[in-house]
Amino acid sequence: MTEVHARARDYSSTELEHVIPDEAELTAGVRIEPGRSYGFFTDTTLCIGCKACEVACKEWNSLPADDLRLSGMSYDNTRRLSATTWRHVAFVEKGGRAGPRADLHQPFQDGWLMMSDVCKHCSPAPCLEACPTGAIFRTEFDTVVVQQDICNGCGYCVPACPFGVVAMDDDDGKAHKCTLCYDRMKGGLEPACAKSCPTDSILFGPVEELQAHAEKRVQELRERGVAGARLYGTPGAEGATGGIRHLNASFLLLDRPEVYNLPAAPSRPAERIAPALGTGLAAVAGLALAAFALLGSRR
């Protein structure tokens, strides 16, 4: 996906009069067409922790800087995704049994893990299914977006999300999360984070192509002896569980998902409506029957 496209020669100047049509074709080898499923594949084995994705996301989406203090969490001063942070690079320093200064490590990235986290654009999406106003919708690119002119700040999507992604902004009283750069995609551009990623740890493209690439990549790593390599969010893998078919933004991890602050087996909250309502109504019906026996007729 990194080869230079033939059309790139048409745009050799650094000063352009207009947006390059279908620019994603040049930068990601993908033509963005409505009606297809698009997403990310984040390969953490390639992540160097530069945080270009975080910065590009903030820049493009005009998101404010939030907490500028040091966290003491390795190089992660961002801490987590939030209403104003839609890409978050996690840093895990693995100590092993001999503590953080252990001098014996597996040869492949086993001591320091980096991972750029993002909204998973789940299929089906729990936030969308929970939204009572229709503010959250599925776009023509099969991504999940919160419409800011409709959201009334009920906040139900926030606890609904199995990944803790959606968040309320107390300044404007609306829910916010990654839009997979809906506006850029409409203009034929790949999302800002993927475009800025210098190692192609973040890949953007049609979901089925990304999934095929992910399977190939994890196979290749395992053949090279990277035993811990695993996929997260592709069909049948961890992250695609409990009624969630797949995540449009999937990942390749080198350790258990929890190490990266991801749940191993997330579940689709909407599937708990029927059991709760069913037993609740059954209990009420049972009590109603007893009440009718006691109250129904004058003794």
């Binding site: 959250i136 190490v259 709760a276």
Partner: protein
Amino acid sequence: MNAVPPASSAPRAPEGRSGEPWRGETYYDVPPVRRSHWDWKVGTYIGLGGMAGAAQLVALLARGRDRDGALRRQAHWMGSLASAIGGVLLIADLKTPHRFANMLRIFRPTSAMSLGTWILSAFGLASAAGTLADLLGTRRLAKAAQLPAAAAGAGMSVYTAALLSSTSTPFWAAEPREMGARFGSAAFAAGTAALSLGARRRGDDALADRLDEVAMLAAAAGLLASGLSESRARAAGVQRPAGELARGLGAVAVAEALPLAGYAAGAAAPGARRELSQLSSLALVLGNIVMRNEIIHAGNASADRPRDAFRFAQPRNLPQAGAPRRFPRRG
């Protein structure tokens, strides 16, 4: 001593056995899920709405004993007031309250909040129509309003369990079935107790005594469901610290155990029955609201504990594979 143990010496599985806490790593103790922003406003609405909903149902069931329509009038008033107050509480809970009407844009069966919006709307309308008909003296209309109000009322008393369960908050998501039974029973007990208080005030002791029996039964069912609910949450990995657990048990004691004991004592000591009955009914009515607020608090607290979230999101807690899908997939 300097030897590093080989990486393959397998440690115990971090997810532990049933009821055991998460033993694995967390990401600097940052919770992987987010807590809701719900506070006393939503907790109080759930209590009030459930109570009023069940009261409408019980008033309909007791129509044979409702000679002068006093029970019906009380239930219609309770439904109208609870819907009005509850509506105000829910709108105040929104972070952009002036857009509250956006809730009425869609009907979405995968969203318990959308279901609840329409249940509350139907319940409020039916109850208000009943109250208005009672005030105008059109008895037939007031009676006709009872059936839709009771049907929506049954929904009011249980949909809030689905509202909490269909989230990713460990304490709420771990026990949808038990939570449904718990909410239904608690609402039924509180609604019946409120009707009993009214009947005592009107001097209809015979009806109040019967209502007390129903409230007792519902409180006992609620106590059982509360116990099942707490133990199921624990088995799914919710580890409430001692202080939290004490709060939860205290709420159950105030809301269910104490009134149950009060009613039982009243039945045993006929001389003090009136007073004990009224005290127990009042405890059920207020305790119901206390308990719902406690459940809101406990859920939010569990969302802040990363180990609870990781332990809950393990394959063993997933619904059984191949179970029939009752709701169409959306989104």
